[in-house]
């Protein structure tokens, strides 16, 4: 009941957001000069093909009807046809989704495994030092400041000069060759994770410091609990609450397509696909890709809201 009361307005808000996102994507490509048929087909088309497209998308009808037809088609699984390959865009996107998912999971895993413990350590140490400053600030500032394409370029340089175990490019699926897969995926995953490490470290550090100002921490100290026990019992869980939201945002962005890292390391994921679609002026891909990225992002944030409500018993409670 508590969860329903808390989640229902959020689901409704997410639906509104979804609607807004779809309208924005729809309008951005429909209102282009040259018309939608040109965008979809390119300039060198026969009047015949143009007529088919106009018919298919109802381009002679009012914008509202066009929008409804478009949404209706997507609900039926039709996200458009790639101009270059003449295949359904959704098939291509779904085929590449696992690659992007794997990349996102590697990055998130590293970011959490490094960022959260360091954040807790940094936060608890910062409370001890009188100025409240420590290594966490340095790592946080550095990680948030080196763009992924700079780090990625440097890594590519290093590993192309000293050909160590890792490989750049030449992706193979995990199912056919797990080792070969990791040889190509770990570097881009690590590159993506650095910003996440900084983000999670900083968020955790702030959350820990904030929890440590709360009365129940003083109460635990007053009961004679040792620091380790206080951190484990009280700080970890309370500090996790704001971290959940940030992690969800980060993961949503990763899943939306890590465009740069995929381009840089030639990882055949969603981001690279959308980017190539743009270069080829294959706008059906861009349209579907952007929309799906936003949908994934909104869904992940919904999941985060559920998780949040499970961790924090105060959420949704009315007194």
């Amino acid at each position: 009941m508590r969860l329903v009361v808390y989640l229902l307005p959020r689901v409704l808000a997410a639906l509104v957001t979804l609607f807004g996102v779809s309208v924005l994507v729809f309008l951005s490509l429909r209102l282009l000069p040259g018309g939608y048929a040109d965008i979809l087909l390119g300039p060198f088309v026969t009047a015949e093909a143009r007529a088919i497209i106009a018919q298919r998308y109802g381009l002679d009808q009012p914008l509202v009807l066009q929008y409804l037809r478009w949404v209706w088609a997507m609900l039926g699984g039709d996200f458009g046809i790639s101009m270059v390959t003449q295949r359904p865009v959704i098939d291509e996107l779904l085929r590449r989704a696992p690659v992007t998912l794997q990349l996102a999971l590697i990055a998130l895993g590293v970011a959490l495994a490094v960022g959260y413990p360091l954040g807790v350590l940094s936060g608890t140490r910062a409370a001890k030092t009188r100025k409240g400053r420590d290594f966490g600030r340095v790592i946080g500032a550095m990680g948030a400041s080196v763009p992924d394409f700079v780090l990625g370029s440097v890594l590519i340089f290093v590993f192309s000069v000293w050909s160590l175990w890792f490989r750049v490019g030449g992706y193979v699926p995990f199912s056919t060759d797990p080792v070969g897969n990791l040889r190509t995926m770990l570097l881009p995953g690590f590159t993506l994770s650095v910003f996440g490490v900084a983000l999670i470290l900083r968020t955790t550090r702030d959350a820990v410091l904030r929890v440590m100002t709360e009365g129940h921490i003083t109460a635990a100290v007053a009961r004679g609990d040792p620091p380790r026990v206080i951190i484990r019992r009280h700080i970890l869980r309370n500090a996790a609450i704001p971290v959940v939201t940030v992690v969800a945002t980060y993961f949503g962005f990763l899943l939306g397509g890590a465009v740069i890292v995929e381009v840089l390391f030639s990882v055949p994921g969603v981001g690279l696909y959308i980017f190539n679609g743009l270069l080829n002026r294959d706008y059906a891909i861009v349209q579907a890709g952007v929309l799906l990225a936003a949908v994934v992002f909104i869904s992940i944030n919904m999941l985060a809201d559920v998780l949040y409500a499970l961790i924090d018993p105060r959420v949704g409670a009315t007194r």
């Binding site: 409370a127 001890k128 009188r130 709360e214 009365g215 129940h216 003083t218 109460a219 635990a220 100290v221 007053a222 009961r223 004679g224 609990d225 040792p226 019992r233 009280h234 869980r237 309370n238 609450i241 961790i311 924090d312 018993p313 105060r314 409670a317 007194r319």
Partner: protein, 328 residues
């Protein structure tokens, strides 16, 4: 008489602020006897919370010990190592905080928090029994509740239960009822006092509620400017106050008014000391002060069966109602 449970001697504590150091305790000395209930009263800023927290070395990191000692149950609190300090807190001390809603972990069920306070592996019966001692109705339901699902009074009873969980020798309660509804203050206070009596522990109440103290404390220490300015039996101090500040506090307290008399708020604000006060800290607000009060630091003296820090204690008694000086 045996050694006192708490012996605070000449304690000086300052807080590092932006560019200076504010002195919270200006050589405070106080002893707490075994089994007594001692109240420490004073306005906010008088140093009473600093004194109470110092007993468990729970002061924030800005606090600096400048001088003096504080001994609790034979442990030199300020010099003890972390392990000894934790043992003292765990076995000898119990704290009750002003705001029960922040003193409990919001993400943990009450049952688990109380079990952790008991230590070891207590069964649900032991936890429920402890809650019942703190007069919480329906302990089984409370066990499963989260802190935000309890009323303020219930939450404070949980905090009290956790404070007495390991049978401490000293209970320190900082404004234990100030955040509660007026209707339940007395009941919660009665529970605290009863539990103290059952266990034979000493209880130190930090409060500004003189009526509450009058009913429950054995002795009272009045604090001003980081010092104890009057210390004696409750009946003596509250019925026949000597220090002008004590008198002003009583006059300002609602509920003590003589029918027809007006409540007299104390004029001025408490001092912000930046070093040792070389005069009487209360002199600027005192209607009874003379030149000497502004130039010489008064020391504690025994006057009329209690300790008083006032140059003019005898005159104050003699003049009785202490009229304001006409010409100063």
């Amino acid at each position: 008489m045996s050694a006192p449970l708490v012996d605070i001697a000449g304690l000086v504590i300052g807080y590092d602020a932006a560019a200076r150091q504010v002195r919270a305790l200006d050589s405070a000395s106080l002893q707490v006897r075994e089994g007594e209930t001692l109240a420490i009263v004073g306005e906010s800023g008088s140093g009473k919370t600093t004194l109470g927290m110092a007993a468990g070395r729970l002061l924030p990191p800005e606090a600096q010990l400048l001088d003096g000692t504080i001994t609790v149950a034979g442990v030199d609190v300020m010099q003890a190592d972390d392990a000894a300090l934790r043992r003292l807190r765990r076995e000898k001390l119990g704290f009750v905080f002003q705001n029960p809603s922040t003193a409990l972990d919001p993400t943990m069920r009450i049952g688990r928090q109380v079990a952790l306070a008991l230590g070891g592996q207590p069964g649900p019966e032991a936890v429920a029994a402890l809650l019942a001692r703190a007069e919480l109705g329906d302990p089984e339901r409370v066990l499963r509740a989260f802190p935000h699902e309890l009323s303020g009074g219930m939450a404070q009873r949980v905090v009290i239960a956790m404070a007495i969980a390991r049978a401490p020798q000293l209970l320190i309660a900082d404004e234990p009822t100030a955040s509660l509804d007026a209707s339940i203050r007395e009941k919660v206070m009665a529970t605290l006092v009863r539990l103290r009596a059952e266990s034979g522990a000493s209880l130190v109440i930090l409060s500004h509620d003189l009526r509450l103290i009058g009913r429950h404390a054995d002795r009272v220490a009045v604090m001003y400017g980081g010092r104890i300015v009057e210390l004696g039996a409750v009946a003596q101090v509250l019925q026949a106050p000597v220090h002008p500040y004590t008198r002003a506090l009583l006059a300002a307290a609602a509920g003590n008014e003589v029918p027809g008399a007006r409540l007299e708020p104390i004029q001025g604000t408490p001092p912000m000391l930046e070093g040792r006060c070389e005069a009487c800290a209360y002199a600027p607000r005192c209607t009874f002060s003379v030149a000497r009060c502004n130039s010489e630091r008064p020391e504690a003296r025994e006057v009329a069966g209690r300790l008083v820090v006032c140059h003019r204690a005898e005159e104050a008694i003699a003049t009785g109602a202490m009229q304001p000086q006409e010409a100063r």
